[in-house]
């Protein structure tokens, strides 16, 4: 019985939240890796693009709620998501047109593009603040739990509760659908293949008649969709706060590098590696230990690192990968 309780505790406090978080990171890292593979720079504006897209989605959500439209047990934000994606994509395409395109034409060094993306980051950060302010926003509505802790306890008779929030289920399901669609798109469609070809060997792709402007445009649209979905899911699961999204940049980058920059499958693996490590390292294991070793009362929380240091986990994993396997778990672009 105690072992079961320990298992439920691990499930409740680690597996479930980390899976949802990992799915969000994976979507973010997919965007980073896509931009890196096609446009060949690390996009520092990625976190703020997530915030921007989410802010737009929230505004549309409020609009829908104002009109009395809802999605029943599902959050209204899911209905608003397509609008958020479309608006963000339009913004990204416009940004590419007025900002990035020039640097592609002069074949600027990647580090210059990264710098440029920092400028875009400033602008998007400011725009997000103007749009929606700096406060924490909760915008999840609909049913709260798929499995509520009380029900679970009553149903199983265990001492430990298990909560499965609907936002967590929605996150994982949505992320899975998006990933499956993205992989199908990249593997099977003509446009997807041309994007991979462009990422693989730009000169040969041009030689083969692949239109670079089209590839770049599709990349920005996909990146806008991925960031907006990731950001909205994160906001539904936790809350929306613009600055937190900026801070997600580190775990997202770490996930992309750990998986191998430019490798979509690596981005997903990286996202989950980072998420599970972060949650496991910052979890207080005392309760689980007490269940597993009966009669022993640990004198500390048995927490390896306090939650404030979750970034240290991403950073440490990042450093370890850089030291031992700079191309990442799944061979990305070489060093």
């Amino acid at each position: 019985m105690d072992l079961l309780n320990a298992l439920v505790a691990v499930l409740n406090y680690i597996i479930v939240p980390a899976t949802a978080y990992g799915a969000q990171l994976a979507l973010g890292a997919l965007g980073v890796t896509l931009i890196y593979g096609i446009l060949r720079f690390s996009n520092f504006a990625h976190g703020d693009t997530m915030a921007f897209g989410t802010a737009l989605t929230i505004l549309v959500t409020w609009g829908l709620q104002g009109m009395g439209i809802s999605a029943g047990p599902l959050p209204t934000a899911l209905l608003a998501l397509p609008f958020g994606i479309a608006l963000t994509a339009a913004f990204m395409l416009a940004t590419d047109r007025v900002v990035y395109r020039y640097y592609r034409r002069v074949r600027a060094a990647p580090v210059v593009l990264t710098m440029v993306s920092a400028g875009v980051m400033f602008v998007m950060n400011g725009l997000t603040r103007v749009l929606i302010g700096v406060d924490e926003i909760r915008f999840a509505d609909g049913a709260r739990f798929v499995i509520s802790p009380q029900e679970f306890k009553a149903w199983t008779g265990l001492a430990e509760p298990l909560a499965l929030r609907s936002t967590q289920v929605i996150t994982v399901v949505t992320a899975a659908l998006v990933v499956v669609w993205l992989f199908w798109f990249l593997a099977k469609t003509r446009t997807g293949k041309s994007m991979r070809a462009f990422s693989d060997n730009e000169d040969l792709a041009l030689l083969s008649g692949i239109d670079p402007n089209r590839v770049v445009a599709v990349t920005w649209i996909l990146a806008a969709a991925l960031t907006t979905i990731a950001g909205t899911l994160y906001g539904l699961d936790k809350t929306f706060k613009a600055f937190n999204y900026f801070q997600l940049l580190l775990p997202i980058f770490a996930a992309a590098v750990v998986g191998g920059l430019g490798s979509p499958i690596g981005a997903i693996a990286g996202g989950f590696v980072i998420a599970y490590s972060e949650v496991a390292v910052t979890y207080a294991w005392k309760k689980v230990a007490t269940y597993i070793v009966p009669g022993w009362e640990a004198d500390s929380l048995m927490q390896l690192l306090s939650t404030e240091y979750k970034f240290a986990v991403s950073f440490t994993i990042l450093i370890i990968v850089l030291l031992f396997k700079p191309t990442g778990l799944f061979k990305g672009k070489s060093v």
Binding site: L207, G209, I210
Partner: protein, 234 residues
């Protein structure tokens, strides 16, 4: 009039010219080979034919049509195929996807062409689902040639196709190239291995400092004592 007629090409990448009135002609279904010492401008001449280099003088005509001002992409549409010397495949894509990308500009059904490529290079059929980056050097070159054939070019240009492959593989590649020429495709190629290349060439161009030094049939050049002594090592 020759099928490819590139006359008096003059130009270079920067201020200094590399090509000085270089002329290259290829007849239908024939193999023309450009040989010469390092730095003679062999690859540059081929890139000029393909439009990767802005000419200050001269013209390029394909099948009687003047294409001097066209971009490389447009020349592909006009019936040119080009196989670069290095980075000539998509390494993380499968062999079949590489061929598909070769046919990117085509909007008709290209599966028949793909079958022809597989017939020409049977090993590619065997490895069609394997990533091109995982193949051996010789196999990769076959993918590269196959990719260029997917547009059904009338002129195929190869920049040192045998660079870095073993002599056995080189012989096999040359055999394939002859087979390609037999289907009616004209071939223009740059080669380091001058002797072997001239053996299969209908026409040979010896370039020195960006200009034609000797121009004759492959066999005649092989027989020319001057050419033998200076360029073929005796």
């Amino acid at each position: 009039m020759s099928f490819l007629d590139a006359s008096d090409m003059t130009g270079g990448y920067g201020a200094a010219d590399i090509l000085h009135g270089c002329t290259l002609k290829v007849e239908k279904g024939q193999i023309a080979v450009i040989v010469g010492p390092n730095g003679a401008g062999k690859s540059t001449a081929m890139k000029a034919v393909f439009g990767m280099l802005k000419l200050r003088g001269g013209s390029v005509k394909l099948d009687g049509e003047d294409i001097t001002t066209l971009s490389p992409q447009d020349r592909v549409k006009k019936g040119m195929g080009f196989v670069p010397q290095v980075n000539n495949v998509f390494p993380t894509m499968s062999v079949e996807e590489n061929l598909e990308m070769g046919a990117f500009i085509r909007h008709d059904d290209f599966h028949e062409t793909m079958e022809q490529v597989y017939d020409l290079f049977p090993i590619l059929r065997e490895k069609r689902y394997q990533n091109a980056g995982e193949l051996s050097g010789g196999q990769r070159q076959q993918v590269a040639v196959g990719r260029a054939l997917m547009t059904k070019p009338k002129l195929l240009m190869l920049d040192e196709p045998t660079a870095g492959v073993s002599p056995i593989v080189m012989d096999e590649l040359f055999d394939r190239i002859i087979e390609v020429a037999r289907t009616g495709i004209s071939i223009l190629m740059v080669e380091q291995n001058a002797r072997q290349a001239l053996e299969i060439a209908d026409m040979g161009y010896v370039l020195v400092q960006g200009a034609n030094k000797y121009t004759d049939t492959g066999a005649a050049l092989m027989a020319d004592p001057d050419v033998r002594r200076t360029f073929l090592g005796g």
